[in-house]
Symmetry: C2
Subunit: 333 residues, 2 copies
């Protein structure tokens, strides 16, 4: 492996100039930069940026913690984070925690040991987590909830889900099934609250039999919807806490010999790319995944630069999207 002295010799400049051309190219003349560049290529030099990072105590990387990268909603958010981070000279360390606290701790250690400069948390954390954890490094909640402390970004999950149930009620539905996500997940709690508020406003009694538990993945939507279809007094609509479970629910309803939406309307949450391509295309709530990633990176970098953003809370707007998986109830029995 060649070294920086060799590059300087071939380029006909000082070692300091080579170093400057690498770390602060704006301070070096175009002609020197070109000579350094050519010399680097000629001798196949790999500058050791670990040394630079050691000196600056910066890693120029950030960790994104995600509960499930195979969920396309998270993939969209990660894509936007990665785009913005790269613009700002940062790389993204991916931590797929699979909802495991142990795996999460290992990624947190990357920041604690300065191998990364900060964390963007995509996994919604419980109130208990917030009460018992404080971090002495930049840590930002994306996909946060109402009660998240510190800097965070979220959409209003309560209002979004309530909006969806309001819509189903406006179509004449009164027996509205619910497929929840994992119990205890803060998004599940918020969306459940939205469901109950909408029923209450409309004077519809809450019926525990109409609630089936899922796990935010497709197959769990299949199983939960199959249960609801078997009810003696089955629902005329099923609201799902995410699109993946809704896609599974559509299949289960059809397998049961029923039609979507004529016999059962189905709704989702997130607006993943498949939502418009399932049959029928899905009525859902769109989260602004692109904005979420961009704003998160900008906020985290300000924190890395030492700003205190503890009261910086962004609530981003959701979109309500009506497609063909929902329709009116003609006669309520």
């Amino acid at each position: 492996m060649s070294n920086i002295r060799e590059v300087a010799r071939i380029a006909g400049v000082s070692v300091a100039t080579v170093s400057r051309a690498l770390s602060h190219p704006e301070k070096v003349s175009e002609s020197s930069k070109l000579r350094v560049k050519n010399a680097i290529e000629q001798v196949n030099y790999r500058p050791n940026m670990l040394a630079r990072n050691f000196r600056s105590a910066r890693s120029y990387s950030l960790v994104v913690l995600v509960p499930d990268i195979s969920n396309p909603f998270f993939a969209q958010v990660i894509r936007s984070i990665e785009l913005q981070a790269q613009k700002k000279g940062y790389s993204v360390l991916l931590g797929d925690t699979q909802d495991s606290n142990v795996r999460e701790q290992e990624y947190i250690r990357l920041v604690e040991t300065r191998l990364s400069d900060g964390i963007i948390q995509l996994r919604p954390m419980s109130d208990h987590f917030h009460e018992t954890n404080t971090f002495n490094f930049p840590y930002l909640h994306l996909c946060a909830t109402e009660s998240s402390p510190g800097p965070c970004i979220r959409v209003d999950n309560v209002a979004g889900f309530e909006h969806m149930i309001d819509y189903l009620i406006s179509l004449g539905h009164r027996r509205i099934g619910l497929i929840t996500g994992l119990k205890g997940n803060p998004h599940t709690i918020d969306r459940f609250k939205g469901y109950k508020q909408a029923l209450e406003k409309a004077g519809i009694a809450f019926d525990d039999n109409l609630v089936a538990e899922g796990e935010y993945v497709i197959w769990s939507g299949v199983n939960a919807a199959a249960e609801l279809c078997k009810l003696h007094n089955r629902p005329t609509a099923i609201a799902c806490m995410n699109d993946e479970m809704a896609i599974g629910a559509i299949q289960a309803v059809k397998t049961h010999g029923l039609r979507v939406p004529e016999d059962i309307s189905i709704t989702g949450f997130d607006d993943i790319s498949y939502a418009r391509y399932c049959d029928p295309p899905l009525t859902t709530i769109a989260q602004p995944s692109m904005d979420m990633g961009t704003i998160a990176v900008d906020m985290l970098l300000r924190m890395i630069d030492g700003e205190s953003l503890s009261d910086d809370k962004h609530v981003l707007p959701y979109d309500f999207i009506v497609r063909k998986s929902t329709t009116t109830v003609e006669v309520e029995v």
Copy 2:
């Protein structure tokens, strides 16, 4: 921020012991380890691992280059890479290159500058790329093709696609449409070869009119299938080069007032999670995403350890999966 001396003082051990407890815990007694651990917690010490990495010239991270993280097939492979990497003490730097050479170069620089120890390339690269690029660091092609030089892992895309077309021919299809991926993409080239070989074996003349170009994303499958449906002499089956385009094709065929599979059979490639939940569920070729990731990490770490694996080429088996999107042709006109 507290420092290592403070930790040593509180733990009642030497600075060297603290350092050893962090870097080689197996060399330190259990009682010292516990005292160090408690002291670290007490003073909230964050050891600077950048210093360790600078000394060892290792970053303990690897870069995964992916053309599109929002494609669920790649998300599955990344998940398996990340699982195996974490088991081995490595973190994963994610490079979503969006098929851009410029963005790819920026990630390659991370390894060139030793901020990462090696690269796993998920983007299939052209023969021209292989001829004009050599890397003086660990670099491994996953999702490789027949002509990929150096260590690589792949499924046989030619054989897999040929298998699918053989199957359609066995069902009586003779006008078999094809929705390709991006032109020039090595997977597109391989799968096209499989298509042509199957037709030739069966004595079916290749018909350029039956070929429509897509881009490996859903909407491109919608557009391409819409074209094929409008043909005067339309195909009785459409083979798509990935599942996403097949999901789009199913929608386009239905929008055209035709039935899948009775009027047009549809096939995919990859077996993403949505393949079994679309309507009808998709006949496809499954790639072993879990094995691909595990083997790739193990190979890359051996290269990082200095082994030369230049002739190590793994061809992993694919699975042929028949679901309900394909059926026989009763009468050929």
